[in-house]
Assembly symmetry: C2
Homo-oligomer: 225 residues x 2
């Protein structure tokens, strides 16, 4: 019997098209002097909590908008709206990551040119989001203390591609066997230039350093042209 096999390379085409659109989004953000951040983590690591804390601490200084992505529910975007900032909810309907096309459709519903910073709160997932360029200027990931210090060994791509790692829920540290030094070594081995911030949004410990980094990056974005 003649072998009836066809091979279609879908992934590469999708990634190439995505790349083009992502670069276009990045260029528009550079022109508008707005900083676009892609925030990624496991479910429940504290993405929304970090965004809300950041909005609270920067409300006198910087205007922040948020694109929320969730499989379902609008819980997070309502929280952002309650904090007085514009939110767009992308209901991904089973999609496990955010790509540039989704970001573009989200941006069409936001006055993003008048924001200093726009967060993309990605789907809670340490795998798929790492592979898709959203057009963000910087990629930020959160690892929460209860998840454990071995995550860089298991999800190396995510730790490799991010500009910033935020170690969250530091208030759980006394009740956990999380080894900060071992985690740092594992991360730096994958990504020597990553900025690591260790903080607790609950107690406020360590949040200042993250806020200062954001202010600097936003300033850089504003002096871009």
């Amino acid at each position: 019997m003649k072998e009836d096999v066809r091979l279609i390379e879908v992934k590469e085409d999708i990634l190439a098209d995505n790349e083009k659109l992502a670069n276009q989004i990045r260029s528009e953000f550079n022109q508008a002097k707005t900083l676009l951040l892609n925030l990624m983590s496991s479910p429940g690591a504290g993405k929304t909590t970090l965004i809300l804390k950041t909005i609270e601490m920067l409300k006198q200084d910087l205007k922040i908008g948020v694109i929320e992505a969730d499989i379902d529910s609008m819980v997070d975007s309502h929280k952002v709206a309650a904090a007085g900032r514009p939110a767009v909810q992308l209901r991904t309907g089973g999609f496990c990551h955010v790509d540039a096309t989704m970001v573009k459709s989200g941006l069409e519903h936001m006055d993003w040119q008048n924001q200093d910073i726009v967060f993309i709160e990605n789907v809670g997932n340490l795998v798929c989001p790492a592979e898709f360029d959203t057009g963000a200027n910087k990629k930020v990931m959160i690892l929460s203390v209860p998840e454990g210090d071995d995550k860089p060994l298991k999800y190396p791509l995510m730790f490799s591609i991010c500009d910033v790692l935020i170690v969250s829920k530091l208030d759980y540290l006394p009740y956990s066997d999380f080894d900060i030094e071992a985690m740092q070594q594992r991360v730096k081995k994958l990504n020597p230039n990553i900025h690591i911030f260790e903080l607790s949004c609950k107690t406020g410990k360590g949040v200042d350093a993250w806020i200062n980094w954001l202010k600097n990056e936003s300033g850089d974005a504003n002096s871009n042209i």
Copy 2:
């Protein structure tokens, strides 16, 4: 203040059809009277810890084998092997879930017919694994207390398709605002027949009920034919 929230529906066709192979695996497990369990959760919710605790508590009664799936690293399979049980490591190399084909190739390297229970430890991910039938007889998910009680709202498919929900890391409860009753209501609304076990592998609290459920299921598997 007017609430500024917009909702955009992003649509996508996913879903590979591995149903046929999954059914074949299930049928072989039924014939061999071995129980195949698909264990899913976010990264760091405690899949490996639960498996190791289960092996320890059942070592006099039942033979357990494990198929470990990770993007990278063999950390988990070495832990299972150190506990004296057969482990096969599937290195998924970027793949975000386990499907029936991967399970089949893992089983080729294990004397699974002589086990009472085989765990598939899926990739840490609350999204993609929910969509793929691995051939398991039962689907078990873990939600750890630090992830928060709102996860059923955000990842409804995973909570809908599982036979068992294990709420893990109960020892973190005193330091968390996790609302057990609210979580239970959200889960039962999605999946009225799900079995919920609340436990801590660290303190041992609640583990017995899970072990008894497993013994019963394994007994049923043994009296299947």
